[in-house]
Amino acid sequence: MPATPVWLAAIESLLNRGIDQSLRARAAAGRLNGTSLELRIAGLAPIRIAAFSGRLALASGGGSGARTAGTDPAAVIAGAPLALLDLFARREDSSAPRGSERVRISGDAEVAARYRELLELARPDWEEELSRLIGDLPARRLSLVARAALSWARGFARSAQANVAEYLQEESRALVSKPEVEEFLGQVDALRETADRVEARIARLERRLGGRREIEGSA
């Protein structure tokens, strides 16, 4: 069994601290006792998450040496790092689409869903964790700065996206704008409907002409 990386131990400590601080997380961990989940992240060794005695144990290499969790995980979640982050980071009530098409879940889907719920409940409070290292006040300040930086970065990304889109659509005309596309598609639909109507009329005329010929022939 390969060594478990130190960063995985740090995540395990954070999650277990999160479980200790939440009654719902403790109950969720208790329900998962004796089960395990394997995360297969592209480019990394598999990570086994096992629940026992109301806590989580994270081990790399797919084998946790866990006697109680058995040798096979109850469920396996595989995908690219960003897709998995997206899956675990989104809240249950989020209306944003999930990256589920880039994530494969096999085995017991209910166990996988319960682990996802537990990881969400045990999510660390980063400001609190930072305050353990550098104290309350610096942690609060850093947290505010980080939030402001994140907000600025999101705003910058949004405005940069809008500016690039405007340049490509309005100035270079390399792309068409959404109203133009909608107008074009509307015209195509109208043309298709007109063509359908013409086709139906021609078919009706042909039927009429065919009937008249039969009457004249019989006379």
Binding site: A3, A9, D20, F52, S53, A59, S64, R67, T68, A69
Partner: protein
């Protein structure tokens, strides 16, 4: 084979089974006064990071109980006492009276008296009740124990169900190119450092030799499994020079 007929490693030397504990005791009595200074010099201060990492894994909360086996001058016990707080309880144990005395003084100087006890005890036969600790640590002590399997079983016995054992110990370097440098340092520099600072080259030669004779990461992991621990894992630190092994009583 009877215990009296068996031999055991004492560094690179083989000694009768019954003699090892006494000889280890003599080594540590000799170095006790300069132990902390030598640790800093030998590891360039890295032993503080290794112990800090070990303490970060305990998962202890205020009011819980912890045992530091072969705790020596009390580095880990001090961290454990901070984690469990005034409502918790920490036992510092060591087989060597000189080391334990230095550890007790240090804990008292740091302000821990009521919730910390010092016990002169053999790790193979811990004088503690079954199922009594939430976490047991042993830092740089297991390799000096004569019967490691007995020590692991003893530590398993005193852990509460769900409790965790943390073994911080020198191990086998796994980082490429590290082993020859580490060997040269251990056998060339370390005994000289011991001679200059602690006036005891032989004891520090023993320390270097005992590290080489200690089971590697995978072997020790198997020993934890055999002692009954579950969820066993290990983390390599500083390229595998040191490893932290963990196991739970499930």
């Amino acid at each position: 084979m009877k215990t009296s007929d068996r031999s055991v490693d004492f560094g690179f030397e083989k000694v009768p089974w019954a003699q090892k504990a006494e000889r280890v005791r003599a080594v540590f009595s000799s170095v006790a006064g300069k132990y902390d200074l030598m640790n800093d010099l030998m590891s360039f201060g890295a032993h503080r990071l290794w112990k800090h990492f070990t303490l970060s894994l305990t998962g202890l909360k205020a009011g819980q109980h912890a045992l530091d086996v072969a705790g020596g001058t009390g580095d880990l016990a001090l961290g454990l006492a901070r984690q469990v707080g005034k409502t918790g309880h920490v036992v510092l144990s060591d087989i060597n009276a000189d080391m334990l005395s230095a550890g007790r003084d240090r804990l008292i100087d740091a302000g821990f008296a009521g919730n910390v006890e010092c016990v002169l005890a053999d790790a193979e036969r811990l004088p503690c009740a079954d199922d009594s600790f939430d976490c047991v640590t042993i830092g740089f002590g297991l390799r000096n124990v004569t019967d490691k399997a007995a020590a692991l079983s003893s530590m398993y016995r005193v852990l509460k169900p769900g409790g965790q054992l943390l073994v911080l110990e020198f191990s086998t370097p796994v980082a490429p190119g590290l082993k020859p440098i580490y060997d040269a340092y251990s056998f060339g520099v370390l005994p000289r450092l011991g001679e200059w600072v602690a006036k005891d080259a032989a004891s520090y030669r023993y320390l270097a030799e005992s590290i080489r004779m200690h089971p590697n990461q995978e072997t020790l992991l198997g020993m934890l499994d055999e002692a009954g621990f579950g969820q066993t894992r290990y983390h390599n630190l500083t390229g595998g020079i040191v490893a932290v092994h963990r196991g739970y009583k499930i």
